[in-house]
């Protein structure tokens, strides 16, 4: 009711003012001021005002301070973009700036600073610097001009070019009036960020000034001493200015170090006052000093002292200080000088996590634990973060989940622990476990043989829980689909039991999860023939085949069909175990960066990554290779390979796999080829727990002329830790066609013994084979063109493998040739075409494979323009069937 009364009263007043403004009688200055002031007041109460601007602008031209002031106040609060008004306002400002009356100049400058419009910048960006550096400008006007210029620079940097005035502005740091120095420091700090060269002379001046302040007796700086602290805000600003630059030259640096030490010393002295204002002011300077020490990251002594000081604050009775200490220590954790010192406080930080009542303080504790985490304390920290997660605020859960996932992966020595951690994450905070996290655990399990069985078992057990999170069903479904066979031997986790467990959750899950489970079911059909009919019954049911969701329906229909028509071989090929995932930056890291936005956390990540990149001798040699991703040691359908020494004909048609394995060493390969170039990643895995010493791989090429060029990009570290995997990259160039494969020879010392392994690198001519599609006509035309006897090579041979059409097609394609359908009049025959790319030439190739099922034999014909090529290709391809 009083609200209505208020509105009524106000409207009455507005009507009154409106009539006065429109009235015949010209209002005198005092009345105008009074009414404009009332309008402003009404506006601030929350009512819209749509008149009065003109009258306010009129007040600007008054000679009376009180009237001018109200005029300026009105237009700076109710900013209007009417161009006529803008013109008038700018005109008034111009007059006041030129008036030489410091009070009027102040009003004008403040108006510009408060409004900061583009039009004002255009009008005055040239004038303000002049006022700032003119010798006869009064102190208070300089203060206002400096900050006015700062506002203009922020909103219209293009209108404030650097000029003669910049060096004079730097000189203001020596001004007697500390208010001027304060304003100038703020201005320089912002300008220096975009124009560091222009303002680098400010560094030594700032250090001198700071030094004088910090060592001043309590009777100096009277006006600027606040609760016994000399010029605290100016000190903070000077310290902030210094953070725009790297550590200064030795002469200046010495002085600065002294200064910082003095500040740190003072923090230890008994306080001059019990008032909180005193300690806050003192600590404001202290924290900024610590910030500078961290930024420079160059004086170990200072860093450790800073860390100790912060350590004391961690247990201070004031929440503000505990909060700021946690925050500051976070950045200290990433410096290699102070990282260890920070770690010593782990128990205090964990305690903070458990006992702090302000959630933002707990969050700082989480951030700090994350920052101080390394191999030595990862398990402890992850455990604490998981336990915190159980009761954490919903708003911060996702971030904690991401952090735990990153730490668990980064510092996992034992990947079983990693799997457990992620499953725990899903159990505790399933809703906040984003896709990136559970995709990652899948990737890692796929890429690491040694944890697959454990993962299957653990996931199976976790699924037993009556109410499990849908993300667990997804992960469980995927893992059992790939590795359920590893636990199928135990009757408690037999195939049928696994299937029933998964299917019991089926109807509770969302569509994407159900789609995933259907894929798992078809994988089960391949892995466990004994459950095939059970699964087919499920797929056949109406709820699947006639499901309203198109994806589910399609999958059910296709999988059902696949299970009925495909032979076991085809099924095995189609549903072969997932190949290892290629290395990529962890998408979890990317997601965390996105969440945190541009902040020091991302710098932390880069530092963390940089530190672990140095595999050879860094503080934490990671077992995985150079990034946050896990080492891509390929996983294979047959994990326990017997000793393979030859460069395996199995590599002719595929690019990834284990090349060699014995008790000590596993050599894996991953290659890619394009035209006449290729790149091969060789992974050497130390299967033992003892170091390999003098580990030296060498490439031996048996060609007289370099038909095949191989370049090793970087040598491998001669020491390979137990359980470690190192990688070598080989760049390959095919110069001309070649027959013999290069040999990889590895020598190393293991225990007291000398080891020597030689293996052929499976770089074969067909790797540089590029498929070429062509019509039937073209094919036969070219075939006829290559009818020269030297150009054709033929081989008749017995089939070594079952003569399956689909598999044969796949092999031809894997070989590198295009598979041409409906070219050969006999549909049972296979026809292919492609080009061999070498540096010198390109050789067109045609092939024809004729199977004789009764005799279990093949006839293979190769026609190319070069005899040696036809020969080699025929040789290679014949082995495949």
């Amino acid at each position: 009711k009083s609200k209505e009364a208020e509105i009524k009263r106000i409207n009455k007043e507005l009507a009154n003012i409106r009539s006065k403004f429109k009235g015949d009688k010209a209002l005198d200055g005092y009345s105008k001021k009074k009414y404009v002031c009332k309008l402003l007041f009404i506006f601030l109460l929350g009512h819209d005002i749509d008149f009065g601007h003109m009258e306010a602008v009129n007040l600007l031209s008054s000679n009376r301070y009180t009237e001018k002031q109200i005029g300026y106040l009105f237009i700076s609060v109710l900013v209007n973009s009417n161009s006529e008004l803008i013109r008038l306002i700018n005109n008034a400002i111009k007059n006041d700036l030129a008036s030489r009356n410091p009070t009027f100049m102040g009003l004008a400058l403040h108006c510009i600073a408060n409004v900061g419009s583009r039009e004002m910048a255009e009008a005055f960006a040239g004038e303000v610097p002049k006022i700032l550096v003119a010798g006869d400008t009064m102190d208070s006007v300089k203060q206002s001009a400096a900050l006015c210029l700062l506002r203009l620079y922020r909103t219209s940097p293009d209108l404030v070019p650097m000029g003669d005035w910049t060096s004079r502005v730097v000189h203001l740091l020596n001004d007697q009036h500390l208010g001027v120095v304060t304003a100038a420091t703020s201005l320089i700090t912002t300008l220096a960020q975009k124009n560091p060269e222009e303002f680098k002379t400010s560094v030594s001046l700032a250090v001198s000034r700071l030094s004088r302040i910090v060592t001043s007796a309590s009777t100096d700086l009277q006006d600027y001493t606040y609760y016994f602290v000399p010029a605290p805000w100016l000190s903070v600003k000077l310290l902030r200015l210094l953070q725009c630059y790297p550590p200064p030259d030795p002469a200046v640096r010495g002085r600065l170090t002294e200064c910082l030490e003095t500040i740190l010393n003072k923090a230890q002295e008994p306080p001059k006052s019990k008032k909180v204002q005193h300690s806050n002011a003192k600590n404001a300077v202290l924290f900024e000093a610590i910030s500078l020490i961290i930024h420079h990251d160059s004086e170990p002594n200072l860093l450790v002292r800073a860390c100790n000081q912060l350590g004391q604050f961690l247990q201070h009775r004031e929440t503000n200080l505990r909060y700021l200490a946690l925050e500051s220590m976070c950045t200290l954790a990433s410096s290699e000088f102070s990282h260890e010192a920070v770690k010593t406080h782990i128990d205090t930080v964990i305690n903070a996590l458990k006992t702090e009542r302000d959630v933002s303080v707990r969050q700082r504790a989480v951030d700090l634990l994350y920052a101080m985490c390394d191999r030595s304390n990862a398990q402890q920290i992850v455990a604490e973060m998981l336990s915190y997660l159980e009761t954490a605020d919903y708003s911060i859960r996702e971030e904690i989940v991401l952090k735990v996932a990153i730490l668990a992966e980064k510092y996992a020595v034992d990947y079983a622990w990693y799997v457990d951690t992620i499953l725990n994450l899903i159990r505790i905070a399933g809703d906040y476990v984003s896709e990136e996290v559970w995709y990652r655990v899948i990737q890692i399990v796929i890429n690491r043989d040694d944890v697959q069985g454990y993962a299957a078992k653990t996931v199976f057990e976790a699924l037993q829980a009556p109410a499990c999170h849908e993300n667990l069903v997804k992960v469980g479904g995927y893992i059992l689909g790939e590795f359920g066979n590893l636990i199928a031997g135990d009757p408690r986790s037999s195939p049928l039991v696994q299937f029933n467990l998964l299917h019991s959750k089926f109807h509770l899950c969302s569509v994407p999860t159900r789609a995933l489970l259907l894929s798992t079911y078809i994988k089960f059909v391949n892995l466990f023939p004994e459950v095939k009919t059970t699964i087919q019954d499920v797929l056949r049911s109406d709820s699947q085949l006639k499901n309203a969701d198109v994806e589910l329906q399609q999958r059910a229909v296709e999988y059902l069909r696949l299970s009925t028509v495909a032979s076991t071989d085809i099924l095995a090929t189609v549903l072969e175990e997932m190949p290892p995932f290629p290395e990529r930056e962890s998408s979890i890291l990317a997601k965390l960066k996105k969440k945190k936005g541009p902040s020091t956390v991302t710098d932390l990540e880069d530092t963390k990554r940089e530190r672990s990149v140095d595999v050879n001798g860094g503080p934490e040699p990671a077992p995985a290779s150079t990034s946050a991703a896990v080492g891509p040691l390929p996983a294979f359908a047959f994990p326990n390979n017997p000793c393979i020494s030859a460069g395996g004909f199995e590599f002719v048609c595929k690019n990834n796999g284990v090349l060699f394995e014995n008790q000590l060493l596993q050599i894996g390969l991953k290659s890619e080829f394009r035209q006449n170039l290729g790149r091969m990643f060789i992974f050497y895995g130390n299967k033992t727990s003892t170091q390999f010493l003098n580990f030296t791989p060498t490439l031996i090429s048996l060609h007289a002329r370099a038909s095949l060029c191989l370049f090793l990009t970087k040598p491998v570290d001669p020491t390979v830790d137990g359980g470690a995997q190192v990688q070598q990259v080989v760049n390959i160039e095919c110069v001309s066609d070649f027959t013999e494969a290069p040999v990889l020879n590895i020598q190393f010392r293991y225990g007291g013994t000398f080891q020597n392994v030689s293996v052929q690198l499976p770089i074969t001519l067909n790797k540089f084979f590029q498929p070429t599609e062509m019509s039937s006509q073209d094919f036969f035309q070219r075939w006829k063109q290559l009818s020269n006897p030297q150009q054709e090579v033929q081989n008749i041979f017995k089939a070594k493998h079952p003569m399956d059409t689909e598999i044969t097609k796949a092999k031809i394609i894997g070989f590198g040739s295009a598979l041409l359908e409906e070219v050969d009049p006999n549909p049972a025959n296979f026809v292919g075409a492609g080009i061999i790319h070498t540096k010198t030439t390109q050789i067109g190739c045609l092939l024809r494979l004729e199977p004789n099922l009764q005799a279990q034999m093949y006839r293979l014909t190769l026609r190319t323009s070069k005899e040696t090529v036809s020969q080699r290709l025929c040789e290679l391809l014949s082995q495949q069937f």
Binding site: L44, R64, T155, Y224, P232, N280, A284, T319, R357, S360
Partner: protein, 133 residues
């Protein structure tokens, strides 16, 4: 009467709707906190430094890398000046002399930075301005 409204000094461009929304949000965030909390609150991608004086909240919104304690004491410094200038200020003073309060603010803060910190100098200037017509 809401003190925050009267004391609005915006150092960034916001339009009127945004301003109103921000005011309400800040109010909501700040008034639920008590002594066990810090005087700093994360707010969107800024932070709010605040202190309560009897029934009034004084809030400053700053960048995340600004110095918390420095701004906390800047608030106190400002309040002490208000106190001195208005001789034991109370809410009503601020209402009836709202335009004078702007003068105090503009004397101590400008363009989003601290302008003057000496209470002596600020008061001297204020008294001088008061004597002008």
């Amino acid at each position: 009467i809401r003190f925050i409204l009267i004391q609005n000094r915006w150092y960034m461009q916001f339009d009127d709707d945004e301003k109103q929304k921000l005011i309400e949000e800040v109010h909501a965030v700040v008034t639920v906190r008590d002594a066990k909390h810090t005087n700093f609150v994360e707010f969107r991608n800024f932070k709010i430094i605040y202190r309560r004086y009897a029934g009034l909240y004084f809030c400053i919104c700053v960048d995340v890398n600004d110095n918390n304690l420095a701004y906390l004491e800047a608030i106190h410094n400002f309040v002490e000046v208000l106190n001195e200038y208005f001789h034991n200020v109370c809410e009503l003073d601020l209402v009836f002399n709202f335009y004078k309060v702007y003068t105090v603010v503009d004397e101590m803060f400008l363009a989003g930075e601290i302008r003057e910190t000496s209470q002596t100098k600020v008061l001297k200037q204020l008294l001088m301005l008061q004597s002008l017509e």
